[in-house]
C-alpha cells in the first residue's frame, strides 16, 4: 500500500521503503552494505543496537516556526539497525565522520579481543576480521593488559565458548531465547567483566545450540567437533541435504581431500530458513566414519569374504531370480528417490513381487495423511510454512523438537506471533517435559497419560467432541458408544481433554477456509494401530461441524516421504496408485520369512535387528531367512546377518533427490568421489535386473528422476529441470502454485 511507503535518500539515491523499516534493511535494497555485528534480520531487535557498528548520519525534515521546512541533521551518528525509516530522511553511510566512528567502534571492540586469528577457527570467515580489514584502524593504541579468561569453556556437548573473543552482540542469547525457545544463555556480571554464559553449573542443552556457532560474528562460539580441524579457505563446499531426519534441511557440506568436515545451514526460506538442528549439524560425521564398507562382502560359513562386484551381483541376481515372487524388500527410508524408483521396478517388474514396505519399527500402516477431500492432493503432507499460520497445533505423542526440528521452529514462530495455540498429548515423564527445546511449556493444553493411554485419550476426545457439538452422523455406533463411555470414565486427564475439545471448536471458529488445525502423530503414539482410525473419525466429526484439520503421520527418516510417494509399500504403487495384487506389509513379510514363505529378503539402509519394534522377533526372522542381502554404508547388526552385503554411496558421494516431510523433492549434489568399490544403489538394482534379462537402463541419476517425473503424475512437476536449489513440493506443483 502506497500510504505505508516513505521516501528516503541513502547516499544520494532516493528510494521508497515501508515506513518503520530499519535503515540498515533499506540500505540493502539499493546494495549499500552497512557493516554490523549484532543486527540479524531473523533475531529480535530487543537487545539490538549494542555493537554500535552500523552508525550512519541522518538528517530529517523539520518544520520551522515560519512554516518552511529544512533538513535538520541529528547531532550524533545513529545506529541504522534501530533507526526506523521516516518520510524525507536523508542518510549518509560513508561520510568522514562515519568512517572515523567505525574505526573508533572497532578499536573499542578490539580492546579486549585477543586477536588470535591465526589459531581461531573463525579466521577466514569472521565478520569481525572482515570488518576490521575493511573499516578498522590498522593498529591499536591499547597497550594495557587485555582480559584473560579460560579458552574453550565447554558450554555443551557440541559448543565451546571463548569469552576473550566475545564482543557481547547478544546474537546467541537472542537466538536461544526467541527462535529455539531455550533461554539458557545470558549475560552475567557487568562492565569489563561482562560475559556471555549459561547459568552457573549448567549446560547449553538446547537441541539447536549449533546455530549459535554460525550466528556468532566472532570466534567466541565454536564447534567442538570442528575445532582445529580446518581453515575455511582449505574447505570445499557442496550443496546438500541433511540426512538426519525427514525435514530435509538444506545444508552446505564442507569437505576436504575427499572427507566430510562439517555442516553449515544453507538458506531455504520454505524449509529451514537458515537454521539447522544439532542432530543434523553434529550427526553427519558418519559420512567419514571409520566403519564405512568399501567392498561387497559374501558370507562363507560364519565369516565374510570380500569379493568383486561382478561376483556379488551374480550371486544376488541368482538368488533373487530363483526366489522370484518369493522375494521381498524392506526399508529404503534412507535411499534416494532414484534408488527407490529403480528398486521398486526391480521387485515389481522383474521379480513380480509386491512385498515391499518401508514402514518398519515405529510406523503403523496408517495413511500418511488423513485429510479433507479425496484424491492425490489429499495425501499431500502439509507444508512447513503452513504450520506457522495454523490456529491450533496438536502434538500427539510427538517429541517435536527432536523428531521434527524445523516443524518445531515453525510452530514456535506461529505461537510467538500470537495466533497459534499449541496443545500437547504425551505420556507422563516424556523427554520434552524434562529438557529444553520443547513445546510443553508453551502449550495451552497439556494432556498427560500413562503408557499405552493414547487410545483412551483419543476416544475420550472423540466423546467430548461429540458431546460439545461435533457431528456424529458418520461415526459408527460402536465407536460412538465406546467414546461416550470413555468420557464418563475416571481419569486424571479428563479436564485437560475437555479443554482440548473446547480449544478445537474455538480454533475452528475463526478459520473459514481449509486447514486451521493440525494433529501430528509422533513416534511414541505410532505403536497403536487403532489410533489413526479414531482420529480420522474425529477429524470427520469436526469437519462436519466446520472445524477443518489435518491428521498427519509425518515422515521421520530422511526419505521416508519419498518411499511413501514412490510406492515402497504393499498396497500402493508410485504416486499412490492402488497395487494389484496387494503385497504384504513389514510384519507379514517377517512372519512369512520365519515360515519359509519368502526365499530372499533385501533390506536397504535400515538396521532392522535393532530398529524393529520387536528386535528379537526381527533377529529370529532374519536368522531363518534363506537369503538376505543388505545394502548399507557400514556393517550394522542386520548387515552382519546377511548373506551378501553391498556397500553403497553416501549423500556426499553422488547426485540425487530426497523428498522431505512436506513432500518437497530436493536435490543434493556429489561433493567428492566415493571410496573405490562402492556403488549407487539404483545402479546395483539396474545391474541385477540386467542380469535377470530385463534392461532398466539409465545413464545417470538425472535420467532416473526425469523418468520418475514422466511416469509418476504426482512427481510431474518435480523433474530435474524444475527443482533448482530449493526443491519443489509436489503438492504445490500439482496445484499449479509457482515457487513453492
Amino acid at each position: 500500500m502506497a500510504s505505508d511507503l516513505v521516501n528516503i535518500t541513502i547516499n544520494g539515491t532516493p528510494l521508497q521503503v515501508p515506513a518503520g523499516e530499519m535503515i540498515i534493511e533499506s540500505a540493502r535494497r539499493i546494495g549499500v552494505e552497512i557493516p554490523h555485528f549484532c543486527y540479524h534480520p531473523r533475531l529480535s531487535k530487543e537487545a539490538g543496537a549494542n555493537c554500535r557498528m552500523c552508525l550512519v548520519e541522518v538528517a530529517s525534515p523539520r518544520k520551522n516556526p515560519d512554516g518552511s521546512v529544512t533538513l535538520a541533521k541529528m547531532p550524533k551518528p545513529q545506529t541504522s539497525c534501530s533507526l526506523p525509516a521516516g518520510e524525507g530522511m536523508v542518510i549518509e553511510t560513508e561520510t568522514p565522520a562515519i568512517i572515523e566512528a567505525r574505526r573508533g567502534i572497532l578499536e573499542f571492540l578490539l580492546i579486549n579481543h585477543p586477536l588470535d586469528c591465526p589459531i581461531c577457527d573463525r579466521g577466514g570467515e569472521c565478520p569481525l576480521q572482515n570488518n576490521t580489514l575493511h573499516y578498522g584502524p590498522p593498529t591499536t593504541r591499547y597497550v594495557e593488559e587485555k582480559r584473560h579468561l579460560p579458552k574453550a569453556f565447554p558450554l555443551s556437548e557440541h559448543v565451546v565458548l571463548d569469552r576473550e573473543r566475545c564482543i557481547h552482540c547478544a546474537r546467541c542469547t537472542r537466538f536461544a531465547e526467541d527462535i529455539a525457545g531455550d533461554a539458557q544463555l545470558g549475560f552475567l556480571k557487568r562492565g569489563a567483566d561482562m560475559e556471555v554464559s549459561v547459568r552457573t553449573g549448567e549446560q547449553f542443552t538446547s537441541l539447536f545450540s549449533g546455530n549459535t556457532i554460525e550466528l556468532c560474528p566472532v570466534g567466541a562460539l565454536l564447534s567442538r567437533s570442528y575445532r582445529f580441524r580446518g581453515r575455511p579457505w582449505d574447505l570445499m563446499t557442496q550443496k546438500s541435504i541433511c540426512t538426519e531426519c525427514s525435514n530435509g534441511c538444506n545444508i552446505k557440506l564442507d569437505h576436504r581431500a575427499g572427507r566430510f568436515v562439517r555442516v553449515n545451514a544453507r538458506l531455504n526460506e520454505d524449509v529451514n530458513e537458515e537454521w539447522t538442528c544439532d542432530r543434523g549439524k553434529f550427526g553427519m560425521d558418519y559420512l567419514s566414519g571409520p566403519d564405512r564398507l568399501t567392498t561387497p562382502l559374501v558370507r562363507r560359513g560364519n565369516r565374510f569374504e570380500a569379493v568383486g562386484w561382478d561376483e556379488a551381483i551374480r550371486r544376488v541376481a541368482e538368488e533373487l531370480g530363483q526366489a522370484g515372487r518369493k522375494s521381498a524388500f524392506l526399508g529404503g527410508i534412507r535411499s534416494s528417490n532414484e534408488d527407490l524408483f529403480v528398486m521398486q521396478r526391480l521387485f515389481r517388474e522383474v521379480l513380480g513381487s509386491s512385498d515391499l514396505d518401508h514402514r518398519v519399527g515405529p510406523s503403523f500402516d496408517a495413511e500418511p495423511v488423513i485429510g479433507v477431500g479425496q484424491g492425490q492432493v489429499a495425501r499431500a503432507p502439509m507444508s512447513l510454512v503452513e504450520l506457522e499460520g495454523l490456529s491450533l497445533f496438536i502434538s500427539f505423542g510427538c517429541d517435536m523438537a527432536w523428531e521434527q526440528p524445523m516443524a518445531y521452529l515453525r510452530v514456535r514462530k506461529g505461537w510467538r506471533r500470537g495466533a497459534l495455540t499449541i496443545a500437547s498429548v504425551a505420556r507422563h515423564g516424556t523427554a520434552e517435559d524434562e529438557r529444553p527445546s520443547s513445546l510443553a511449556p508453551i502449550s495451552a493444553v497439556r494432556v498427560r497419560h500413562d503408557e499405552g493411554g493414547e487410545l483412551q485419550v483419543a476416544l475420550r476426545l472423540l466423546g467430548e467432541v461429540l458431546r460439545q457439538g461435533g457431528d456424529g452422523t458418520a461415526v459408527p455406533a460402536e465407536l460412538a458408544a465406546k467414546a461416550e463411555s470413555a468420557v464418563t470414565e475416571q481419569g486424571a486427564d479428563a479436564e485437560a481433554v475437555r479443554r482440548l475439545a473446547l480449544t478445537l471448536f474455538e480454533a475452528g471458529k475463526g478459520a473459514s477456509d481449509g486447514r486451521s488445525v493440525a494433529v501430528w502423530i509422533g513416534e511414541a503414539a505410532r505403536t497403536n494401530r487403532q489410533l489413526p482410525d479414531i482420529l480420522q473419525t474425529l477429524s470427520a466429526a469436526l469437519s462436519a461441524a466446520g472445524v477443518h484439520g489435518v491428521v498427519q503421520v509425518p515422515a521421520m527418516e530422511v526419505n521416508e516421504q519419498g518411499a511413501r510417494d514412490l510406492g515402497i509399500a504393499p498396497t500402493w504403487l508410485p504416486g499412490y496408485e492402488q497395487a494389484d495384487p496387494a503385497g504384504r506389509n513389514s510384519a507379514e513379510i517377517l512372519a512369512a520369512v520365519a515360515q519359509g514363505d519368502i526365499a530372499a529378503l533385501w533390506i536397504s539402509g535400515l538396521d532392522l535387528a535393532t530398529r524393529y519394534s520387536d528386535p528379537a522377533a526381527a533377529v529370529r526372522a532374519l536368522e531363518s531367512c534363506p537369503f538376505l542381502v543388505v545394502t548399507d554404508l557400514s556393517l550394522t547388526k542386520t548387515a552382519q546377518m546377511a548373506d551378501v552385503v553391498l556397500p553403497v554411496t553416501s549423500v556426499a558421494e553422488r547426485n540425487g533427490t530426497y523428498t522431505n516431510v512436506e513432500g518437497r523433492v530436493q536435490r543434493f549434489w556429489k561433493a567428492y568421489d566415493p571410496p573405490a568399490g562402492v556403488r549407487q544403489e539404483w545402479r546395483i538394482a539396474a545391474q541385477i535386473a540386467a542380469r535377470l534379462g530385463t534392461e532398466i537402463h539409465y545413464a545417470s541419476s538425472r535420467e532416473v528422476l526425469a523418468d520418475i517425473a514422466a511416469r509418476v503424475p504426482l512427481y510431474a512437476g518435480c523433474g530435474p529441470d524444475a527443482l533448482g536449489d530449493g526443491g519443489v513440493r509436489w503438492a504445490s506443483a500439482l496445484a499449479g502454485e509457482v515457487g513453492r
Partner: protein, 203 residues
C-alpha cells in the same frame, strides 16, 4: 512485540513454584509486582526478598525461585543478580562485613582498617572464614561519611572504625543476632564506636 513474546513460561501457575519464600514474602512480592506492567519488572525487589528469605545470599535455588515467580528465564535473573554488587551470589558468612573504602573513608584510613580486619579475621576481601561466621567485602560509599571508616553488617552501620578498634568491633559483631540483609535504608541502625579523638561530631 509478539503476543506470546516471552518464552520462559510466564503463564506458569503460581502454585507450582517451590522454594523458600514464606507466605508473607510471597504476599509482599505480589504486592510489589502489582505496581509493574509485567512481572519481570519487579526483578530487583524480588531479588532483595529472595536474598532475605535465603539467609543473606542468592544460591542457585533462589535464582530459580525468583525466575519461576516472575516468569522469566533463570539465566536472566542470574544476569541481573550478578550485575549488581549488593546481591550476594557466592557463599558468604553469617556476618557479612562490608567495609567502605570510598573517598572519605579512604582519607580517614580505610585501607589500614581493612588490612587490620583481614588480619583479625584471617581472611582476604571476598573470602569467608572457615567456620562460616564472617565474610569480608569492600564496598563503595555507604553515605555516612562523617563517621568514616564505616563498616556495614546487615542492618547496622558501625562508624569511626580504626585499626585499633577492630578487636572490639569484631566482638560486638559476634553478639549481633540480626544478620539479615537490609531492604530499606531507613531501617539501618547506626552504631558509633566512639567519638573521634579529634572531636568531630557524633553521627
Amino acid at each position: 512485540m509478539a503476543a506470546n513474546g516471552h518464552s520462559g513460561g510466564g503463564d506458569r501457575p503460581m502454585d507450582t513454584v517451590s522454594g523458600r519464600f514464606s507466605p508473607e514474602a510471597v504476599a509482599e512480592l505480589e504486592e510489589i509486582v502489582s505496581h509493574y506492567p509485567d512481572r519481570r519488572g519487579a526483578m530487583l525487589p524480588a531479588l532483595w526478598i529472595a536474598q532475605r528469605e535465603y539467609g543473606g545470599s542468592l544460591p542457585a535455588e533462589a535464582i530459580k525461585e525468583v525466575a519461576e515467580r516472575l516468569g522469566c528465564p533463570p539465566v536472566e535473573v542470574e544476569g541481573v543478580a550478578s550485575f549488581y554488587t549488593m546481591y550476594n551470589l557466592g557463599r558468604r558468612g553469617r556476618r557479612h562485613l562490608e567495609v567502605c573504602t570510598c573517598l572519605t573513608c579512604a582519607v580517614l584510613g580505610a585501607a589500614d582498617t581493612l588490612r587490620a580486619l583481614e588480619e583479625k579475621l584471617g581472611i582476604k576481601v571476598g573470602q569467608t572464614t572457615p567456620d562460616g561466621e564472617f565474610s569480608l567485602a569492600e564496598v563503595e560509599c555507604l553515605n555516612w561519611c562523617e563517621a568514616g571508616t564505616v563498616v556495614q553488617v546487615g542492618g547496622r552501620y558501625f562508624g569511626n572504625v580504626t585499626p585499633d578498634k577492630v578487636d572490639a568491633l569484631v566482638e560486638q559483631i559476634r553478639q549481633i543476632q540480626d544478620t539479615e540483609a537490609v531492604t530499606q535504608a531507613d531501617q539501618i541502625v547506626k552504631v558509633q564506636l566512639a567519638r573521634r579523638h579529634d572531636g568531630t561530631a557524633d553521627g
